[in-house]
Symmetry: C2
Subunit: 208 residues, 2 copies
Amino acid sequence: MTRPSIDFWFEFASTYSYLTAMRIDVHAAAIGVDVRWRPFLLGPIFAGQGWSTSPFNIYPAKGRYMWRDMERQCRRAGLPLARPDPFPQNGLLAARVALVGLAGEFAGDWGPAFVRRVYKAEFGEGRNIGEESVVAELLLDVYQDPEIVIERALAPQNKALLKSETEEAMARGIFGAPSFLTEDGELFWGNDRLDEALEWAAGERGAL
Amino acid sequence: MTRPSIDFWFEFASTYSYLTAMRIDVHAAAIGVDVRWRPFLLGPIFAGQGWSTSPFNIYPAKGRYMWRDMERQCRRAGLPLARPDPFPQNGLLAARVALVGLAGEFAGDWGPAFVRRVYKAEFGEGRNIGEESVVAELLLDVYQDPEIVIERALAPQNKALLKSETEEAMARGIFGAPSFLTEDGELFWGNDRLDEALEWAAGERGAL
């Protein structure tokens, strides 16, 4: 019998995806579920809703609340929090690089570690992950050659893959991050739903 | 020493407020916190964000997700779920009536029971709580005289009170429902934050 798996859809501009990235492997292992890490871009999805930036910028009360909530959630999780400037960050290059590690012909086991390293740099250290020099440094932190990996990240094939991943996310009803999709197509949205999503994937879903 | 208390801000059109209304008293009692039930209107707050209806209607992917999530959440909580038509419901009269029971010179101990009865009718039975005849019937269910209470609900003083409550909600940074405000001004949003809010109110807030 194969182990159940879950797709973890994340976007580097998403604050709550940081919380999930730092804990999903431990929670998933505890319940016997494998995780597929799937970077995508919220920009095209938000644009379809008429938004040109993060909803946390468009709606100031919601934005103020989110940053305070993140302070509380990070404290509970024992994670550092530093607000990056600008917000949202441009996560395009980081997403392309993550995809090299996570999918396609050059995939390796460094993908999740790189994703966690990016989130920690962005929201734990307040660094600008939109800069190529920062991404290069974070690749070194996970023992990868920045020149080789960034070249692969910028190859047309990899750019097209990130685009099609984003299109798949939209087609499957994803409208925010983090999102979780089980093998039977059940969608869960938000770091608050991680454990419920994992329980569903593990088959502990009751009679629904 | 007086017991700590928390303000529970709810709006009758809000699906997730239903989940909270049905459980807050039990959770609050268990941790030794008193609950102040505070109805308000999201309409004026949403209008300030440029929305003329529920965001679950404006953003279809989010709306589809919310209804499926409500199915799951209601099942976990052992609550019935029926989707009311229209959605969102017009909760103005119900909010005015709830306010009579919860605040002002005619306040009685039937307020929370009435609020729960309205939510159950709306989201558990799919009834139209915008109709005065339905509100009247729900008042009978909590042993109140509909004619007397509705007259008090429609008095200028009570209408003005609901308006000022809504203005207070907006001034305090509330942008959705359910929301929880502690005595020291800490804001929590969403049914998922109920227990964290109660812990904060009870003084179990760590060093933040």
